[in-house]
Amino acid sequence: MAERDGVRLLALPPSVALERSIPALEDVRGYFDPDGVVIPGPRRKPRAVARARRVFVGPVFHPPLADAGPVTRDELDGFPIVTVQRGAMLEDAADALEGALSIVDHVVLVCDDVTTTVRPTALETRLEYAAELAAAVPDDGSGVTVLTGGLPADYDETWHLERTGEPLGVGRDPVADLETGDDVVSLRIHGTGAVEGHGDARSISALSLSRDGAVAVETVDADAFGLEAVTGVGPKTANRLEQEGITTRRRLLETDVETLRSLPGIGRDRAERMLAHAEVLETGEPRRLTDEPLPGENWERPPLCLDVETDGLSPTIVWQVGVYDPLEDCHRAFLEDSNPDDPRSVLQAFLDWLLGVHPDRALLTWNGWRFDYRHLGAFINRYLPGYAEEWDRVPKLDCYLWAVRGRNALLPGRTNRLADVSSALGYEHAGTGLDGAATAAAYERFTRTGEVLEWDRHRAYCEDDCRALWHVYDRLRDAPRAEAVSSESTSERAGGKTDQTGLSDF
């Protein structure tokens, strides 16, 4: 992990703290290496707190318990953290906040009663305890980040409030042209609760809080830790293994296939697969499961690694196309940095280059059928229909489709996001501080306000993704093949042939 300018807080949902085994929680500790832990409220979960304290080294915060009083002020590596038990008590935190802000620039306020209420019949979303918050924070609120278990950890919005708590809007843009301009409070509100869409096991998030107020979040499935991180091990199997004294992946690796096969419901294939994946996770070395060639690996020249940036998930422009050519070890970026109303030029430049300079090369993406190819195809069809046929002919490969969905390889990394997979495979990221959402939001702001982006930084972010992709591809190319573990999975494989068009249907 890189040197941190700030602290890392682990947001551990109470159900995760209660239901995961101790070795699994120790694995969480090892992976995130947090400075402190938050158990999100607003319900009181004393047993979850006790369990977290048993495993984690730093302080464990759980405001609903108020074991050190309704309002507390702690320091985490010099970073002040104020907790408030109930929303109605927020104003009592004013002194603590003011005191903290007299020493440092940023302070974290944890109160789980803060949440949003959506009232669709009134087309309105309200912030609960907005008035109390607005009254409690000093100055314009910019020094305070509010954390709340009342919202999921992917919630991150800045609320602009009148001092009375009346909401004026949300967003990064400062509130301009308001009569009440002098007395506007802007508060960054960040969730710590479980994130939707992570299944029954829920999710764990780590919040990296910088001393300048920046917050970055990483969310991982709760069952990506301990034995269950191993493919083929669900809660039941994990339980059985634990009963046999096999409580960690390291212990699992020391177990032989025959011992595993003696457990109910585990056949040879599954046992071998489990061992293979445990080894991948422990060593960080990927493993190929099948004889299926990696798309394009036998071709004369390697594919070009592609990554695109848009202005949102439902894009109105593909404003950056980055292509890394591993053969020349050089990167090209096609960028629309002057006229965001013109989605055509950047695509035309990219296509002219691709079809002119590299008429015979394939493209490679990470999950491109879901994003990059999908949107490029749609925009080309719409804005450059004359190129559509040529574009259709370009071989398009998808490393993610082959490895993950096609189950042709086992990867280290707790998620299948490119950033995680490449890091786990030893790729050193450039550290631009950006992610897809941030770069899209920045471009959207540019379109709307003309506020210019740090183009180099955004170019570097896209390039970093292209290079990370090549790193993954390269490692997979050289990865050893696991033996005799493929039979179980072949029938489920999608794609596989080099002309991948797959994607399971909906």
Partner: protein, 891 residues
């Protein structure tokens, strides 16, 4: 007499007539019926009106058609040729499918002539209908000799390669709106199909009303913006049963101008329409075993007021009788269970009367039919009908919609289906070519049915109900907004087409604050919440909060009822802990209801008990705000919004046998349901109120709490008027009575938004208790400075509203006139009415107090039927006695 008989026999033998006429049915049916209980109406037939094919169609199509086009088909095709959207609203089997089939053929031929493609997206309301129509369309195209690939693409279509090929190759894709809702997420995969789309067909469009209609209207809007993105600007064809407002309804669904074609040119044979009120129930011990068993089996509550045999018993007998007499008959039942049960009862009816049904050659092959059967079984039944192997089928409304089963000799309806539109659609199933057909409506003992059989003119009236679709519900809009932003960025181009700027901006701000969208209207708003917001849309509810139905731990999976998820409203009403629910003929007990978790659910286990449960309800209204009002005479009618609390706080256990209440008032443990919705209310002028209070001052309800107060008679009048208003509303509007609720009150003002509490006062405290809500109403009543007005509310029983209260507000006089007519005309002879006039089985106050005549008086004053001085005699001499009224209200 003898000669008359001979004449008739001669008549029935004529080949072009139905095996049994209405009069013959009356004469031959065993059992008693009183004079006046049954009436036979003879409806004349109509000749076909046609137009030569060649005047409308290009020669290659005109030549391929066997018959000339009916005038309505020709008119529709001409409008389409002129680039218009068309709604064809004509009778069952009038050849509506041919209209769009020909239009598709024209489009395809034209496109191919210039080397292009033309596709059509055809949406049916059910999957069953989709499969049926796929065959139908294929037959038409085969006859026309045009090579058109028609494919069904819905939840049953095999995933993967099959789907991909359909998207990439089909000329016509048949689907349903639940499918369109989800497929729009991946519109890029449909790029070819959408780009070439020239026609969107919405078949049976009249079925899209209420909540479901609102969802469909928004799905159509989302489809339109995606089609526009691909450069397509298709025409719309809607086909509809006869409804009152086909143009308005079509335009609400599609947001496009639509030309209505409703001059039906298809021929129709004459029809005997029999309106059949079952005979009075004989005394319990006189009954044959048959009814005793039957009556209880379907949850019938033998009630002292139930003076007639239920239609559930009588209709299967008529069905049985007709099939014995060689009339192939369709019996329409209101539920799947009754479809099954009716076949059993019909068979038993015959075997119990072997002396009468003695002809051994009459087989009596009967089958039930409903959507719960497998597709194979349904096809076999459809085929059996078509080929004549089956003599009769008892079906839910699954056979009401266009599935082709050929034409029957007769139909029997078990109860009035609720809508004229539905009524005609169902009886339209009988009538072979231009032969005489027979249709029997067996009435239930309840408001609508009794109204219809005693006012046959109502059925024959040209007017049909309006279908209500109201895209104004923001809760539904908000869900589809998220989907739209997921499909394509929502931006300035959507202003005025998808929604108004103000509405879009409010939705953007709401979802931005909730962390579900990013961006701005100027540059494009994307959805950023959990993947596939489309799957959160429940097409039959206004909010996405649904409860899963799970089987209790340790119960074998084969008992899994496999119920669809339940809307919160239903859970609070019918799925409280301890509730006994019947599902697909099996009993389940609700053992637990888990509300406040991310995946709320209901846990059930199979049981076998001898009781069922019935929840009680209480209703109050808070914070009503008038948005519009108008005068009717010196009455004032308001339309607005407010909060309705419906509290199913207790339930009764009722014996299946005998209908006695075994245990009363068991707490449900459920919180009240709080809905923010649309409502309308009527304020009665003070002098009418004063006079009527005096007029009925001496009337009392002995066994009711406070039943001897001076106001009770008048309050009973308001309560009865409220029930009647809701009871007859379906006569004017396409709605389900259960979607409407009402509240009669002596203190309307105490239900209005008070100036005292702030705009959002108390809302953040979560669900309020019902007792607290009542206390608020009482406190407001006590604090009133002026004497409050009395009257009644009618509200939409669905979060955000459905537009029904709005429609009632606009049509109040017509609804009130029907209600008055009905209440005054009931021959129950009781002051407090009967289930056929003002009693309502969903009443939260046990149908007390109710006063028919007081209700009639209120209606007469409202409608100007009575002069005000008619009441003068009752007005107290000294102005008003100054007695403070209690804040009484009745739902």
């Amino acid at each position: 007499m003898a000669s008359e008989r001979d004449e008739r026999e001669e008549w029935t033998e004529r080949a072009d007539d139905v095996p049994v006429t209405g009069e013959e049915l009356l004469e031959t049916f065993p059992g008693y019926h009183a004079e006046g209980d049954v009436s036979v109406l003879e409806l004349p037939g109509r000749d076909a009106a046609t137009v030569p094919n060649r005047s409308v169609l290009r020669p290659e199509l005109a030549g391929a058609l066997e018959h000339d086009l009916y005038t309505h088909q020709a008119a529709a095709l001409e409008a389409l040729a002129a680039g218009e959207n068309v709604c064809v609203a004509t009778s069952t089997s009038s050849g509506k499918t041919l209209v769009y089939a020909l239009q598709i053929a024209r489009n395809v031929l034209e496109a191919r002539a210039s080397g292009e493609e033309s596709t059509a997206y055809v949406c049916y309301p059910t999957k069953a209908l989709s499969r049926d129509q796929e065959r139908e369309l294929n037959d038409v195209f085969a006859d026309l000799g045009v090579d058109v690939t028609v494919r069904v693409y819905d939840g049953d279509t095999e995933r993967g390669e099959t789907r991909r090929r359909i998207r990439e190759e089909a000329d016509v894709v048949i689907t349903n709106f639940a499918g369109v809702n989800t497929y729009l997420h991946d519109h890029d995969r449909w790029a070819r199909f959408f780009r070439a789309c020239d026609l969107v067909v919405i078949d049976e469009s009249h079925t899209y009303t209420g909540v479901h209609g609102m969802h469909v209207a928004w799905i159509v809007r989302r489809l339109e913006r995606v089609l526009e993105y691909y450069g397509a600007a298709p025409q719309f064809v809607l086909t509809s049963a006869t409804i009152g407002n086909p143009g308005e309804h079509s335009e609400a669904l599609t947001r496009e101008p639509v030309t209505v074609v409703d001059e039906d040119g298809s021929p129709q044979g004459p029809r005997d329409l029999v309106l059949w009120n079952p005979p009075p129930r004989v005394r319990e011990d006189d009954r044959s075993g048959l009814e005793a068993e039957d009556g209880v089996d379907d949850g019938e509550t033998p009630d002292a007021d139930h003076e007639r045999l239920p239609a559930t018993v009588e209709a299967p007998r008529i069905f049985s009788h007709l099939t014995y007499h060689d009339a192939q008959t369709l019996l329409f039942t209101p539920s799947r269970k009754l479809a099954e049960l009716s076949v059993k009862r019909a068979t038993k009816h015959r075997s119990d009367r072997e002396y009468y049904y003695a002809n051994p050659n009459s087989r009596g092959d009967l089958e039930p039919y409903h959507a719960g059967h497998s597709r194979r079984k349904r096809h076999a039944t459809e085929y059996g009908l078509k080929t004549g192997r089956l003599d009769g089928v008892a079906s839910t409304n699954a056979l009401e919609l266009g599935i082709n089963v050929g034409e029957m000799d007769a139909t029997v309806q078990l109860g009035y289906p609720g809508q004229r539109q539905s009524f005609w659609q169902q009886i339209g199933r009988a009538g072979r070519d231009e032969k005489r057909a027979l249709s029997v409506l067996v009435a239930e003992h309840r408001t609508l049915d009794q109204y219809v059989v005693s006012n046959p003119d109502y059925l024959l009236d040209e007017d049909v109900e309006d279908a209500v679709v109201d895209p104004g519900n923001d809760a539904v809009f908000a869900q589809h907004f998220r989907c739209a932003a997921d499909e394509l960025a929502v931006d300035g181009d959507d202003v005025g087409t998808f929604a108004s700027r103000d509405r879009l901006e409010r939705a953007v701000e709401m979802w931005r604050r909730a962390g579900q969208v990013r961006g701005h209207l100027e540059t494009g708003v994307s959805y950023t919440g959990a993947p596939r917001p489309q799957t959160d849309v429940s097409l039959y509810a206004t909010t996405s909060e649904e409860y899963e139905v799970r089987l209790a731990d340790g119960v074998d999976d084969r008992h899994d009822p496999e119920m669809e998820p339940l809307a919160r409203e239903r859970v609070l009403r019918d799925f409280h802990e301890g509730a006994i629910r019947l599902h697909e003929g099996r009993q389940y007990e609700v053992t637990n209801v888990v509300h406040d978790v991310p995946n709320p659910h209901v846990i059930v286990r199979p049981v076998d008990v001898d009781y069922y449960t019935r929840s009680r309800s209480e209703v109050t209204i808070l914070d009503a705000v008038s948005e519009e009002s108008r005068e009717i005479g010196d009455f004032t009618l308001h339309y607005g919004r407010g909060t309705v609390l419906v509290y199913h706080g207790a339930y009764d256990e009722v014996a299946v046998h005998g209908g006695r209440t075994k245990t009363a008032g068991v707490p449900t443990g459920n919180p009240p349901l709080e809905i923010e919705t649309q409502l309308c209310w009527l304020e009665v002028p003070a002098d009418v109120e004063r006079a009527l209070i005096e007029k009925y001052r001496d009337w009392c309800v002995p066994d009711m709490d406070g039943g001897d107060a001076a106001h009770v008679g008048y309050a009973g009048g308001l309560h009865a008027a409220e029930h009647a208003t809701i009871g007859v509303a379906p006569l004017e509007l396409t709605l389900d009575k259960r979607d409407l609720g009402g509240l009669a009150t002596l203190t309307i003002d105490s239900h209005l938004a008070g100036a005292s509490d702030g705009e959002h006062g108390g809302e953040s405290e979560g669900p309020r208790s019902f007792a607290a809500a009542k206390a608020v109403v009482k406190a407001q009543a006590d604090a009133l400075e002026r004497e409050p007005a009395s009257g009644w509310f009618v509200y939409d029983g669905i979060e955000g509203g459905l537009g029904f209260s709005r429609a009632i507000y606009e049509n109040f006089e017509a609804v009130a006139a029907r209600a008055r007519e009905h209440v005054a005309g009931c021959d129950c002879g009781r002051v407090d009415g009967c289930p056929a006039c003002v009693m309502d089985d969903q009443c939260g106050n046990d149908n007390q107090p109710l006063h028919r005549q007081a209700a009639v008086d209120v209606f007469d004053q409202l409608l100007g039927n009575e002069r005000r001085d008619a009441l003068e005699a009752y007005l107290p001499d000294d102005g008003h006695g100054g007695q403070r009224r209690p804040p009484l209200f009745y739902s």
